[in-house]
């Protein structure tokens, strides 16, 4: 089914599509986000779902309070260490297929509150994140752009074959360990399954790019 044959048929009013396109088209245009605002980014998320920026054009304006009915978790705001177990438990309780948008600098890496003792330095230490939106807070257009990026990702997901999405692979985990409250910090402090500390090339540290001190 190459493209020009499809466009020909479409001229005659016949729509030809594959099962996978239909499946992905259905899923990408009804991403129901979980009602899950943490901090200032949540206000921009609400502003994005209001009349002016209108996330409803992308089918994402239905904010479901319960994780059972949501398939997109927008982590909008600072994830503190006291809130991290709840975030991971909510992610675990969401039904497959589920996606995570990490909205704002705080959710990506702790953002301006990185030096805080109670701030988790990024939610991708415990759960896999699909789309990151930098910004503090990112503008509503940035959130809509993230939604469009996620929709493109869903569109490209094949139904069968090795690079099937996570929820179609039987062995890909749909649950991740929920951190416990320790005496001084969360233990484990990050989930090695999901996050490896990026290695800093210390040999070059303290020198400029050309390698001289």
């Amino acid at each position: 089914m190459d493209e020009n044959l499809k466009s020909e048929l479409r001229k005659q009013g016949i729509v030809a599509t594959t099962l996978q396109e239909l499946y992905n088209w259905g899923r990408k245009n009804s991403l129901w986000p979980l009602n899950f605002g943490l901090a200032c980014c949540a206000i921009e998320m609400i502003a994005a779902s209001m009349a002016r920026y209108d996330m409803a054009r992308f089918g994402a304006e239905v904010f479901r309070p319960s994780p059972r009915q949501a398939d997109l978790m927008i982590v909008a705001g600072t994830v503190t260490k006291k809130m991290a177990p709840q975030v991971v438990r909510l992610y675990n309780q969401m039904a497959e297929p589920k996606y995570v948008i990490s909205m704002g600098a705080c959710a990506i890496s702790g953002g301006p509150f990185k030096q805080g003792y109670n701030v988790l330095k990024g939610i991708d230490r415990y759960i896999p994140v699909d789309v990151y939106i930098p910004g503090c807070p990112p503008r509503p257009e940035a959130l809509i752009d993230a939604l469009m990026t996620l929709q493109k990702m869903i569109d490209r997901q094949p139904l069968t074959g090795p690079d099937r999405p996570r929820h179609l692979q039987a062995d890909a985990p749909s649950e991740f360990i929920v951190p416990e409250f320790g005496a001084h910090d969360l233990d484990p402090s990050q989930n090695p399954e999901v996050w490896q500390a990026p290695l800093v090339n210390i040999s070059l540290a303290g020198t400029d790019d050309a390698g001289n001190d």
């Binding site: 990185k114 409250f181 800093v200």
Partner: protein
């Protein structure tokens, strides 16, 4: 109502209280009144109910940590040096005992006059950190005293519900103290420098990767 008149009125009505005016060098001119913990509740009730003052609104309760400082002073002592009595200078380092301090800003909603600032401090920062709670007098101090207990470790006697308010219950130490050491958390920096570099190196050795 200048602080001096308030102080004299308190001394008149609350027998045996120890008061001291702490002057504030900054141009804001907000001097404060240090009260002794023993009579704190009596003074507070007086300030709230006395007619000219009527400080019925405890707006702000703050915890401050004053760690012990090392003072080295030169001392002239007489010492026998090879049989001759001599005047010798010696530097003696004394470690002052730090203390935790709680500051109350009081306003009057009825008379609309400005902040009267009370200060109370504990004996030291280790185990004698008990202070009387003023929540029975002003209910607004309840959450803020719980926060000071949580972040500084001051134990308020007489507080109706002294629990940790901000950190989780299993948390052990008091993070807002000046000598709190954060748990080591790997910080990724593309171009690490000074202490982040040390930490990256240390992490490198821990993870055994060179």
């Amino acid at each position: 109502m200048t602080l001096e008149t308030i102080e004299s009125e308190i001394e008149a009505n609350v027998p045996g209280c120890v008061l001291e005016i702490v002057s504030n060098p900054s141009p804001s001119g907000q001097h404060s009144l240090r009260i002794d913990p023993a009579h704190a509740v009596a003074i507070a009730t007086f300030l709230r109910d006395a007619e000219p003052l009527r400080l019925d609104y405890c707006s702000n309760v703050t915890g401050v940590d004053w760690p012990g400082k090392e003072i080295s002073e030169k001392v002239k002592i007489k010492k026998l040096v090879d049989g001759v009595e001599q005047e010798v200078e010696e530097v003696r380092k004394t470690q002052t005992l730090g203390h935790l301090e709680v500051v109350y800003h009081l306003y009057s909603m009825e008379k609309k006059h400005g902040p009267v600032i009370l200060r109370m401090s504990t004996e030291d920062r280790a185990d004698r950190v008990h202070l009387p709670s003023l929540t029975p007098v002003w209910r607004s101090a309840e959450f803020q005293e719980r926060e000071i207990f949580d972040l500084y470790g001051v134990i308020f006697d007489g507080h109706p519900d002294l629990r940790r308010i901000l950190m989780w219950d299993g948390f052990q130490d008091h993070p807002m103290r000046r000598d709190y050491v954060e748990p080591d958390d790997f910080e990724y920096e593309p171009t690490p420098h000074d202490e982040v570099l040390e930490r990256a190196r240390q992490h490198r050795t821990i993870m055994g990767v060179q």
